[in-house]
C-alpha cells in the first residue's frame, strides 16, 4: 500500500513532464534500436552462412579433394565406391558473369548421404527432367529473380543457399564445361573393414571443410565494423538516457526528501525507483526492438549487396524475426537503464533527509566531474598509444579506435569550458558577454549530448574520409588495371575458338583470361595465367617488385601475388610460393587487388594450362583502338556471342564502381543514423534543461530582453556548441580515418590505402551539424519565445 502511494507520488513527476518521459523512453529505445538492428543484421548474415553450409548438397561432411584444386576423375569416384567407401561426388563451379554470377553445384542424388539433403522431386516431370539431357535446377527464390542465361528450368527452393544452383552432376558438367568432381563427400558412417584411403588413393587429401568458417572469417571484419557502429550508437543513446534519468532524479530531489521525512525508508524509496527504472526500460526495450527491426529491415538489402559484392557471401535481403536478437535488445535496454540509473540511485540511497535544496547541484557535480573526465581521457589516450605500438589484429584496431574516441569525448567538456573562458574577454555587448558566460555554465548539462555529437561527427569524418580515399584510389586503380578495351566471354569452348580467331584478326592484341580456383597458404585463392604482353608491364599496378617481374613471370619461372595474400600470409619478395604439391615459384612482385576478398596469384599462361588442362577457356581481353570497340562488339555478336557477354572498359569500370558504392551504402546510412541520434541527444538535453533555465532567463526578461531575443540567443548557443564540437571533430575524424586506412583496413581487407583530405565533405558536415543543432534547439527555443509572461513572473514569486 505504502509502496503504491510512494510510486504514485514519484510517477506524478512524469505525468507533469510528459516530454521528459518521452525523451527518456525514446532515448533508450533509440539506443536499443540501433544496437538491436545491427545485431539483427549480423545474426541474419551469420545464420545465412550457417544455412549455406547446411544447404542442399552441402552438409557438414569431410571431403576428399585433389591436391592443387584439380578435378577428381569419374573413375576415381567409382574405384572408391567399389572399394566400399561411401563417398558422393560434387562438382562446383561458377556460371555466368557479373551481377548474376551463380555457383553451380552438381550432385549425385543416388550416393548423397541422407543428411546432406537431396532436392525434392515429388513431381513426375521434375524427376524426369532432373535426369534428362536438359536437366533441372533448384535455386533460392532470391537467386531465381536474376539468373544468368542458359540455365535449365529452375524450381524455387528455400533450402538452397542464395547464389547457388543445385542440379545433377551431369547437368553441372554441361553447364560448367568440365568433367570430373571438385570434391567427394565422405559419409560420416562407413562400412566396417575398409582399406584406408591413404592406401587406396594417396593423391587425394581428406579435408574437414568449414564452408561457414571461410565466409565467417572473410566477413568477420565487416561484422565487427557493424558491431562497432552498433556499440557507438548505443553509447550515444546511453548518453541521452543518463542525462534524462539524472535530471529526473535531480528534479525530484525535493520530493525524495519529503517522502523520507514522511517516513519512507531509503530502502523502499530506492526499490521503488529501481522498479520505475525497470518498467521504463521494459517499455523502451519493446519500442527499441521494434525500431531495431525497422532499422535492420531497411538496411539489410544494402548489407546483403555489400556482403555479396565484397565477399561473395550470399545473404537474403529480407529479415526474419529471431528471438535471439530481440532478447539481446531487451538485455541491452535493461543494462543501459541500469548503467544510467545506477549512479543516481546510489545518490538517492545516500541522500541526507535535511540536505539543502540545490537545484543546480547536479550541474555542479558535472562541473567537478569535468576534471575527472579529463583525467580519464588521458588514461584512455595512454591506452591508445600502447595499443598503437603493441597491438595487432582487427580487434586491437577497433579497441584502439574505441579508446581514442572515448578519450576524446571525455576531454570535450574540459576543452569546451577552457575555450569559452578564453573567449569571454572578446565579448563586446552585454548580451554577448552574458551569452558566453552562460554558455560555459551550460557545458556540464549539455556535455553528454555534445560528447555524443562529437563521436558522431568524428565517425562521420573518419569513415567518410576512409570511404572517399578508398574510392579515389579504387577509381585510379581501375583505370590502370582495366587496360584492355574490350572483355569477352564465349558461350562454350567451340565458340571460344571462333572468338579467338575473330579477335586475332580484328584486334591489336588478344589476351586470353585463364584462371582456376586453388588454395594458397591454406586459403581459397585464384590462380591466373597471363600471356606475355606489354599491356601488363605498362598498366598493371605493382606495389613492390623485383627487377623485370613480368619478364620473369612470362618465362614461367616466377609468380606475382596480390596484396591480400602478401599481407595475410606475411610473404616476402623472392621467397617461394607453393602453388600445388609439386609446383612452387619465387614471388617477384605484389599488386593491388581492391575489392577481392581472396588471395590471387599470376603465372605464365602456358604453365597454368599445362598443369590445369581443364580450366575454362572462355574469357578474353582484347586491345584495340577505342574507336573500334563498337565495330568489334558488332562482329562478336554476329558470330553468336551473347551481347551480355561483351563488356567494354567503361562498362566494367561503371559496374565496379557501382559495386563499390553499394558496398559502402550501409556505412553511410549508419553514419546518418548516428548523427541523428546525437541530434536527438541534444534535443533531449536542451528540452530538459529548458525548465531548469527559466530562473536564469527571467531576470533578463525583466531587465528588458524580449522572449524572442532570448530564444534567438538559445539558438545561437546551440549553433556555437555544434560549431566548436565540429571543429574539434575534424582533427579527431582525420586521426580516425588514418587508423581505419592504415590499421583496420589492412587487417580487415588486406590492403593499405593512401589517405586524401576532403574539405568539402567536412564543410557539408559542418552545415549538417549546425542544422542538427538548430533542429534540436528549435523546440525549446520556440517554447521560450512563446512562454506566458506569467510563467516568467512566477520565477520571482516562487519560494525556492
Amino acid at each position: 500500500m505504502m509502496t503504491r502511494v510512494v510510486l504514485q507520488a514519484l510517477l506524478s513527476h512524469w505525468w507533469r513532464r510528459p516530454l521528459q518521459l518521452v525523451t527518456l523512453l525514446f532515448g533508450l529505445a533509440l539506443a536499443t534500436g540501433l544496437w538491436t538492428g545491427v545485431q539483427a543484421i549480423n545474426q541474419e548474415a551469420r545464420s545465412s552462412y550457417d544455412a549455406a553450409a547446411q544447404a542442399l548438397g552441402q552438409g557438414d561432411f569431410d571431403r576428399l579433394v585433389a591436391q592443387g584444386g584439380a578435378l577428381i576423375q569419374r573413375q576415381t569416384f567409382v574405384d572408391l565406391r567399389r572399394a566400399g567407401w561411401l563417398v558422393s561426388p560434387v562438382i562446383e563451379g561458377r556460371y555466368g558473369r557479373g551481377e548474376d554470377r551463380v555457383t553451380v553445384i552438381g550432385l549425385d542424388p543416388f550416393t548423397l548421404p541422407p543428411s546432406a539433403g537431396a532436392p525434392d522431386l515429388s513431381d513426375d516431370n521434375d524427376l524426369a527432367q532432373w535426369f534428362s539431357d536438359d536437366g533441372l535446377i533448384f535455386v533460392h527464390p532470391e537467386t531465381q529473380a536474376a539468373l544468368p542465361d542458359g540455365l535449365p528450368r529452375a524450381i524455387p527452393n528455400l533450402s538452397v543457399a542464395i547464389g547457388e544452383v543445385v542440379t545433377d552432376v551431369t547437368t553441372a558438367w554441361r553447364l560448367l564445361e568440365v568433367d570430373g568432381f571438385s570434391h567427394l563427400i565422405i559419409a560420416p558412417q562407413q562400412p566396417i573393414g575398409l582399406t584406408p584411403l591413404d592406401d587406396l588413393i594417396p593423391s587425394l587429401e581428406r579435408v574437414r571443410p568449414d564452408p561457414a568458417g571461410d565466409i565467417a572469417q572473410l566477413t568477420r571484419s565487416f561484422h565487427l565494423n557493424l558491431t562497432a557502429f552498433g556499440l557507438l550508437s548505443f553509447a550515444v543513446g546511453l548518453f541521452i538516457v543518463h542525462a534524462a534519468i539524472g535530471l529526473a532524479f535531480e528534479q525530484r530531489r525535493g520530493m525524495f526528501r519529503t517522502l523520507r521525512a514522511l517516513g519512507v525508508s531509503t530502502r523502499r524509496l530506492v526499490a521503488v525507483l529501481a522498479g520505475e527504472t525497470l518498467v521504463l526500460a521494459i517499455l523502451a526495450g519493446l519500442l527499441g526492438i521494434g525500431l531495431g527491426y525497422l532499422v535492420a529491415a531497411t538496411l539489410l538489402p544494402g548489407v546483403a549487396a555489400t556482403l555479396r559484392g565484397l565477399y561473395g557471401a550470399a545473404v537474403p535481403g529480407t529479415l526474419s524475426l529471431d528471438p535471439a536478437w530481440a532478447l539481446s535488445g531487451f538485455g541491452i535496454a535493461l543494462a543501459g537503464a541500469a548503467a544510467a540509473a545506477g549512479q543516481s540511485l546510489w545518490q538517492v540511497a545516500k541522500l541526507p533527509i535535511l540536505a539543502p535544496a540545490k537545484p543546480r547541484a547536479w550541474a555542479m557535480a558535472m562541473d567537478r566531474s569535468q576534471t575527472r573526465l579529463a583525467l580519464a581521457a588521458l588514461v584512455l589516450f595512454a591506452v591508445t598509444v600502447v595499443l598503437l605500438i603493441f597491438g595487432s589484429g582487427l580487434v586491437a584496431g577497433f579497441l584502439l579506435l574505441g579508446a581514442f574516441l572515448l578519450g576524446a569525448a571525455f576531454l570535450l567538456p574540459w576543452v569546451l569550458s577552457r575555450l569559452l573562458r578564453l573567449a569571454a574577454p572578446l565579448a563586446r555587448g552585454p548580451i554577448t558577454q552574458w551569452a558566453l558566460a552562460d554558455t560555459r555554465q551550460q557545458v556540464p548539462g549539455l556535455s553528454l549530448a555534445l560528447m555524443a555529437l562529437l563521436l558522431a561527427l568524428a565517425t562521420n569524418i573518419g569513415v567518410g574520409t576512409m570511404v572517399s580515399s578508398f574510392r579515389l584510389t579504387f577509381a585510379g586503380w581501375l583505370d590502370q588495371r582495366l587496360a584492355s578495351e574490350i572483355y569477352v566471354t564465349a558461350r562454350d569452348s567451340q565458340q571460344s575458338e571462333d572468338v579467338r580467331a575473330l579477335l586475332e584478326g580484328q584486334a591489336d592484341a588478344v589476351l586470353p583470361i585463364r584462371s582456376t580456383d586453388i588454395r594458397l597458404e591454406g586459403q581459397p585463392a585464384q590462380l591466373f595465367g597471363v600471356v606475355d604482353h606489354p599491356t601488363y608491364e605498362q598498366g598493371w599496378p605493382l606495389i613492390t617488385a623485383l627487377d623485370t617481374p613480368w619478364a620473369q613471370v612470362a618465362s614461367g619461372q616466377a609468380v606475382l601475388i596480390n596484396e591480400q595474400l602478401w599481407r595475410r600470409a606475411d610473404l616476402t619478395l623472392g621467397s617461394e610460393l607453393a602453388l600445388t604439391a609439386d609446383w612452387a615459384l619465387p614471388i617477384v612482385g605484389v599488386y593491388s587487388d581492391y575489392g577481392n576478398p581472396e588471395g590471387q596469384a599470376i603465372v605464365a599462361q602456358a604453365e597454368l594450362l599445362q598443369r590445369f588442362p581443364d580450366v575454362s577457356t572462355l574469357g578474353y581481353a582484347a586491345r584495340t583502338d577505342p574507336a573500334q570497340v563498337e565495330a568489334l562488339r558488332a562482329a562478336l555478336i554476329d558470330i553468336g556471342v551473347p551481347a551480355g557477354n561483351i563488356l567494354n572498359q567503361a562498362e566494367v569500370k561503371t559496374f565496379s564502381l557501382d559495386v563499390f558504392d553499394r558496398t559502402f551504402l550501409v556505412t553511410a546510412a549508419l553514419n546518418v543514423l548516428t548523427l541523428g541520434v546525437a541530434a536527438f541527444a541534444m534535443l533531449a538535453s536542451l528540452t530538459t534543461l529548458a525548465g531548469l533555465r527559466l530562473p536564469q532567463l527571467a531576470p533578463l526578461w525583466a531587465m528588458g530582453l524580449t522572449r524572442r531575443h532570448l530564444a534567438l540567443v538559445e539558438l545561437a548557443r546551440a549553433v556555437l556548441f555544434a560549431a566548436i564540437t565540429w571543429a574539434l571533430a575534424v582533427p579527431l575524424g582525420l586521426i580516425l580515418a588514418w587508423v581505419l586506412l592504415a590499421v583496420v583496413n589492412v587487417e580487415a581487407f588486406g590492403w593499405r590505402l593512401p589517405m586524401f583530405p576532403f574539405p568539402f565533405d567536412w564543410a557539408r558536415l559542418a552545415i549538417w551539424a549546425i542544422v542538427a543543432a538548430l533542429l534540436a534547439a528549435a523546440l525549446p527555443a520556440y517554447r521560450l519565445a512563446r512562454i506566458a509572461p506569467a510563467q516568467l513572473i512566477k520565477v520571482f514569486a516562487d519560494e525556492r
Binding site: Q433, W434, Q696, W701, M703, G704, T706, L792, R800
Partner: protein, 218 residues
C-alpha cells in the same frame, strides 16, 4: 508626475469564476519620491508592481510613465520600457550566476546602453561591494546578493525602480541597511521608488505608504 496609475483593473481566471486582483486602483508618484505599497498576502500589491513594470498587462485603466501611456504597448515596446526606464529588485535577488559581481552591476546599464563607469563605481562603493567585485553570486551572502541586485538596478539610472519584498530574505539588521541604501541611492539618482513590502518597519523608511486590501486601496 513620473508615474500615474489611473483606475487599473486586473482579473485572473479562477476556479469559481474570474478573480479580481486589482479593482480600479489609482495612484501617482513623482521623480525621486519613494512609496511603500503594503497589504496582506494576496492583496494584489505584487500584481500592481508587475503592471507598472511592464511585466504584465492590465485589463482596464491606464498607466502613464514619464508622459508615455504604457498600458496597451506591445511586447517589444514593453521590453524597451523595462530596459531603459525601469529597474527591478526581487526578493530572490535573481542575479546572473554566470557573471561576476562587477559584470552583474554593469549589466543592466549596458543593456540600457548608458553605462556610466563612475556612477557604477559610486554605487558599488556605496553598497560596499568593491572588495567582492570579482566574485560570483553564489559566493556571496544573501545581503551581499541583494546589494548587487539593487546596485544592478540603480547603476542603469532607471526613471522608476520597483522592488518586490527586497528584504524578505534578509535578517532585520541587514534589511534595515539594505532598505536605507535603496532609498538613499534612488534619491541621489532622482529615481522614483515603488517598494512592495508587508513590513511596517521597512515602510517607515519611505516617503509615502499606501495599503492595498482585496484589490483596492484602503
Amino acid at each position: 508626475m513620473l508615474l500615474t496609475v489611473d483606475a487599473v483593473t486586473k482579473t485572473y481566471p479562477g476556479d469559481t469564476g474570474p478573480l479580481t486582483v486589482l479593482d480600479a486602483v489609482s495612484l501617482s508618484l513623482s521623480a525621486g519620491e519613494s512609496l511603500a505599497l503594503m497589504g496582506e498576502s494576496g492583496s494584489g500589491k505584487s500584481t500592481l508592481l508587475h503592471l507598472v513594470g511592464g511585466l504584465d498587462t492590465a485589463d482596464a485603466g491606464t498607466i502613464t510613465l514619464n508622459g508615455t501611456v504604457i498600458t496597451g504597448l506591445d511586447d517589444r515596446a514593453l521590453a524597451e520600457l523595462r530596459r531603459t526606464q525601469i529597474g527591478v529588485v526581487f526578493q530572490q535577488f535573481n542575479l546572473i550566476p554566470s557573471l561576476t559581481v562587477v559584470q552583474n552591476l554593469a549589466f543592466h546599464a549596458r543593456l540600457a546602453g548608458r553605462l556610466d563607469e563612475t556612477w557604477v563605481n559610486t554605487v558599488s562603493e556605496r553598497l560596499g561591494l568593491t572588495t567582492v567585485g570579482a566574485r560570483y553570486p553564489e559566493q556571496l551572502s544573501g545581503g551581499q546578493q541583494q546589494r548587487v541586485a539593487i546596485g544592478r538596478a540603480i547603476a542603469a539610472k532607471p526613471a522608476l525602480l520597483l522592488a518586490d519584498e527586497p528584504t524578505g530574505n534578509l535578517d532585520e539588521d541587514t534589511a534595515d541597511t539594505v532598505m536605507s541604501l535603496l532609498v538613499d541611492l534612488t534619491k541621489e539618482a532622482n529615481t522614483g521608488l515603488l517598494v512592495v513590502t508587508h513590513s511596517q518597519a521597512r515602510a517607515a523608511a519611505l516617503d509615502r505608504h499606501l495599503t492595498l486590501s482585496k484589490g483596492s486601496l484602503a
